[in-house]
């Protein structure tokens, strides 16, 4: 087989995941070639996410470098999680980027502690993702299926690093409304991305 096409793996993800796992084994064995491949596969996406969150190229470089070196050092522990390498790596990039912006922002709320794995990776059965279409086109369509205010709340939380209380203050709506928007937004995305969704929208 040729290189795994991770970005659009969808239901066929298991093959890609197995290939990923083989890479992680090589990574854990100190194989620089495997790190090279990991970067080729995910480096651009990692940088895009880090840049989206930090808005700063040099900060994004630091985040990506720290995340890949973290992967390099901790690849042996990857066997403990059940998800895809893609989600594992990009979640770590996300986590570090959020830490970076929270550190430089005065905040009335105590930010969540640094370090450790992102919660998204430690939840029991976090890997319902295999039932979802995660390719770019599907996600773009799904994002049009939820309301503008739901999308805004999710983005402020996930890419803005704001707590739900801070989102309420920022957008001038009650906390309960923000909670509702986050829940309905995530549920709406999930419904739109389900592989078994009827009329899930294959095109625009």
């Amino acid at each position: 087989m040729s290189d795994p096409e991770i970005a659009s793996r969808g239901a066929a993800g298991s093959d890609a995941d197995r290939t990923d796992r083989a890479w992680m084994d090589r990574l854990a064995g100190g194989d620089l070639g495997a790190l090279d491949r990991l970067y080729e596969q995910y480096g651009a996406m990692a940088f895009s996410i880090a840049y989206r969150i930090t808005g700063d190229r040099s900060a994004a470089e630091d985040v990506v470098q720290d995340a890949f070196l973290g992967a390099w050092r901790n690849a042996g522990r990857y066997a403990d999680v059940r998800g895809s390498v893609r989600t594992w790596l990009l979640s770590i990039v996300h986590h570090r980027a959020i830490d970076a912006i929270r550190r430089r922002r005065p905040t009335v709320e105590l930010p969540d502690s640094e370090g450790g794995l992102p919660d998204s990776l430690t939840l029991p059965d976090a890997w319902g993702e295999v039932e979802l279409r995660l390719d770019r086109a599907a996600v773009q369509v799904a994002l049009t299926q939820i309301s503008e205010v739901q999308r805004e709340a999710i983005e402020l939380a996930y890419f803005g690093g704001l707590t739900q209380t801070e989102i309420a203050e920022r957008t001038g709506v009650p906390l309960g409304t923000v909670k509702g928007r986050l829940r309905l937004g995530l549920q709406g995305l999930r419904a739109a991305l389900r592989l078994d969704a009827v009329g899930g929208g294959s095109d625009g």
Binding site: S48, Q65, G70, E109, P124, A126, V139, I154, G161, L186
Partner: protein, 278 residues
């Protein structure tokens, strides 16, 4: 679902906090309470896993931005240095020669990547700009440092490239005494050609040369060539010697003149070459 209370939260509370939790949008106290509840609660909290499964999709919503081309080389260089530190520690059963901070932070021990890091780079570059409007030796010295860093970075990329070829080996060169800041990389190709890049070397004066040595299984150092170093402290050097097999040690000394047949102590930097890819 039955209602339990752990960490001061009922299962209903946790369900209500779930969307913000999976998005990382709770404050530290709330997130910690949710974590502790989940750790102890016998309920499955399926809503948590369901909502969490959507989160990786959000990565696809991000506008692609190309990373700088040098980022990969930086990461590989830092990883190579990290690998060498780990191997040195494993080989001796003690921490690596350089004191290592106990915290499992991202930058432990000798971190080649750190020298490329933007803050350092930016600081040197900014200093060079300031120096350009000042006058005198400072100006020259800082321009040398900037040029040196650029040359070093280019050299590292070239070395990593060579070390990735079939049968090639990579050595990370550090000061065995842990005293000096000089360090570098060497690629030993299958055909015996050796490429070395070094930084933070003291400039040579008079007839002095830095001499590179290969030390094989017989423990006899073989001189493979010398080079001089200017104010930048960086050097990039390629030579050829009959292949001495796997695990050869690459070492560097400062010699009073060219043509040394035995190394003059101390060894300034050394590292064992190893194959990087299977």
């Amino acid at each position: 679902m039955a209602e339990h209370t752990f960490a001061g939260l009922t299962c209903s509370d946790v369900a209500e906090l779930a969307p913000a939790f999976v998005l990382g949008a709770l404050n530290a106290g709330e997130a910690d309470a949710v974590r502790r509840h989940l750790a102890d609660c016998p309920e499955l909290h399926a809503e948590m896993a369901e909502l969490n499964s959507v989160v990786p999709a959000l990565f696809e919503a991000v506008e692609p931005v190309a990373p700088p081309a040098y980022l990969k080389a930086q990461i590989l260089a830092a990883a190579a240095a990290d690998l060498e530190t780990r191997r040195a520690a494993a080989a001796t059963g003690t921490p690596a020669a350089r004191p290592v901070a106990p915290a499992p932070g991202p930058r432990r021990g000798w971190d080649l990547g750190a020298i490329f890091r933007r803050p350092v780079w930016a600081a040197v570059a900014a200093a060079a700009v300031i120096a350009a409007v000042a006058l005198g030796a400072w100006n020259v010295q800082l321009r040398d440092q900037v040029a040196g860093l650029e040359a070093y970075r280019a050299g590292v990329v070239a070395i990593l490239d060579q070390a990735a070829r079939p049968g090639a080996q990579l050595a990370v060169l550090t000061d065995p005494a842990g005293a000096g800041g000089q360090s570098g990389l060497a690629a030993v190709a299958a055909d015996g050609s050796v490429a070395i890049v070094m930084r933070d070397l003291a400039p040579t004066t008079g007839t002095q040369v830095y001499e590179a040595w290969l030390i094989g299984a017989d423990q006899v150092p073989v001189a493979i060539g010398g080079f001089t170093v200017g104010g930048s402290g960086t050097a990039s050097f390629t030579t050829t010697h009959a292949s001495m097999g796997a695990g050869v040690v690459v070492a560097l000394t400062l010699e009073p003149r060219e043509g040394a047949t035995a190394p003059t102590p101390p060894i300034l930097a050394a590292g064992q070459a190893r194959e990087q890819s299977s």
